[in-house]
């Protein structure tokens, strides 16, 4: 432990009395004052600008078709690895019987990964995918074709809103910071396709 103490002591001696600037206020967010519809539109625009493709379907029953058609359009086999999220399992995948799915974490050699996101951030077009019993962040790093299913009401204004939402969810489960949180903005190693599910809430447009 003497290395630790040596470093910490030197750091403390060095920074003692260092001048501190006045705090700068954070700039106003581009999403301030937007309605839910505005947020959805902005999320789509920013995600596409970052290199993702975005598609909207009316309800979860349409999701299997969207996934299968996307794979056909790319000329891929109808095979995918899906995160073991209960919500994803509850999607009526048998609507497209030729779609062959396996649930669980990403393995080397997987070509297509399907996952759900905790939040979509309108300001930056970012998807927030924390680890948890129901998520597999590896599905967004390893396979070359990545598909994320995002319910419309999970779209928030800023990254800070998403952090707050995550903290609330973790607290409700009696947990702290998830062991990994992935932020995905546009295409990374592979292609990213976002499927937005649901109708905008009529009561809160």
């Amino acid at each position: 432990m003497d290395r630790r103490d040596a470093i910490l002591n030197r750091v403390r001696a060095t920074v003692a009395g260092m001048a501190v600037l006045a705090d700068a206020p954070p700039p106003p967010s581009a999403t301030r004052g937007l309605t839910n519809l505005g947020l959805i539109e902005m999320f789509g625009k920013r995600a596409i600008a970052a290199g993702a493709s975005v598609e909207r379907v009316a309800d979860t029953a349409r999701v299997p078709h969207a996934v299968a058609d996307h794979l056909t359009a790319l000329g891929m086999a109808q095979q995918a690895r899906v995160a073991g999220d209960p919500w994803l399992r509850s999607i009526p995948w048998n609507r497209r019987p030729r779609l062959s799915l396996s649930f669980g974490r990403a393995r080397t050699g997987d070509q297509v990964g399907v996952g759900a996101a905790l939040a979509g951030v309108a300001e930056t077009g970012t998807l927030v995918i924390p680890s948890g019993s129901d998520q597999a962040a590896g599905l967004l790093f390893l396979p070359p074709i990545q598909i994320v299913i995002l319910p419309l009401h999970h779209i928030v204004g800023t990254l800070d809103d998403a952090w707050r939402g995550m903290a609330i969810r973790q607290q409700a489960r009696g947990l702290g910071m998830p062991s990994s949180v992935c932020l995905a903005t546009g295409a990374g190693a592979g292609r990213l396709h976002v499927i937005l599910v649901g109708e905008p809430d009529a009561a809160h447009p």
């Binding site: 954070p26 680890s131 948890g132 590896g138 910071m177």
Partner: protein
Amino acid sequence: MERLRAMGCTVTVPAQGCCGRTLLERGDRRGAAGMAHGMIGAFAGCGPVAVPNRACAAMVRDQYPVLLADDAAWGGRARDLAARCRDLTDLLIRAGDPRTDALSRQVIATRDRTLAHLDRHLRMVEDRLRDSGGQVHWATSAGDAVTIIRQLCLNHGIGPAILDGSPLLMEIGLEEALAGAGMTGSGADSPPLIGISGAGFLVAETGSAVIIPDAGPDAGLDSGAADTLFAPCHIVVAAIDRVVPTLSDASALLRLWSEGGGLPPRVLFATGPRGAGDADGPDIFHLVLLDNGRTDLLAASGAPPPRLAQRAGWVWRLLSRHPSLYRHVTSFVSRVHGYGGSFQARWRDADHG
């Protein structure tokens, strides 16, 4: 320049040579002094001098007065030029361009605030990560870090290690050291069992290491970088001077991370090994906190004007030690800025000269 003019500054570009940093690094003090004379002459009678390249700024500001200290005629002028030398970015921000700089100002204020209590933030990272089941190691030097990591690989003994292309790992020469000991694997035949990555920065309130895999030139992450993140044993190396207090500060910093604005394509906040019910993530998580001269730089940058050396210095030390990395970075920078030649050539091309 247009931005400076728009803010009401008068901008001139005197005919000038090179700052002579490369000569000094090769040990040619006399040649470097000659270059310094040229530069001091060129900028005599100017107001603040804006230096676009941070490394050149550090040279003029920190090295000229030392280089010419014994020179009765030039010593005073060198100190005078050093005092007028400003980093272009700082000048733009100080001059108050409202367009993009609210966010940069916020990030700079956060960084200064964090550095002023760096020891407290480092201790918080350590505590939070321990609570999440991660293990924390402290390394004073590059050799120290290599020894620690080699020992960790031996302790776990569960197979070959795979490294990402992070500058931190290059700084400590980890790849050569592990390859020499026969401890790296290509990962082609068997999945890697130990992943080693470098963190972009740390978040104190959660004890997270923020890993930003480098997007390659062909718009793809190098696949090794992704594989390191999901190996059963994950070792992360982080610099002690790169800490932000909260997740919210991390968001602001990430938004400034890429040149073109926008977040990097993939970012991973790694906070310890996977939880009991997690589908994904490493079984074992180690964080190696690396000093390697950063405290010295912090001490050196305490004198006014602060911060410049802190920012330019460590990048520069790292680059000058690794010629291949230096070439890589300079070619990248010239690609990003869309010019191949010198600053003067660009000025001529723009039809001003």
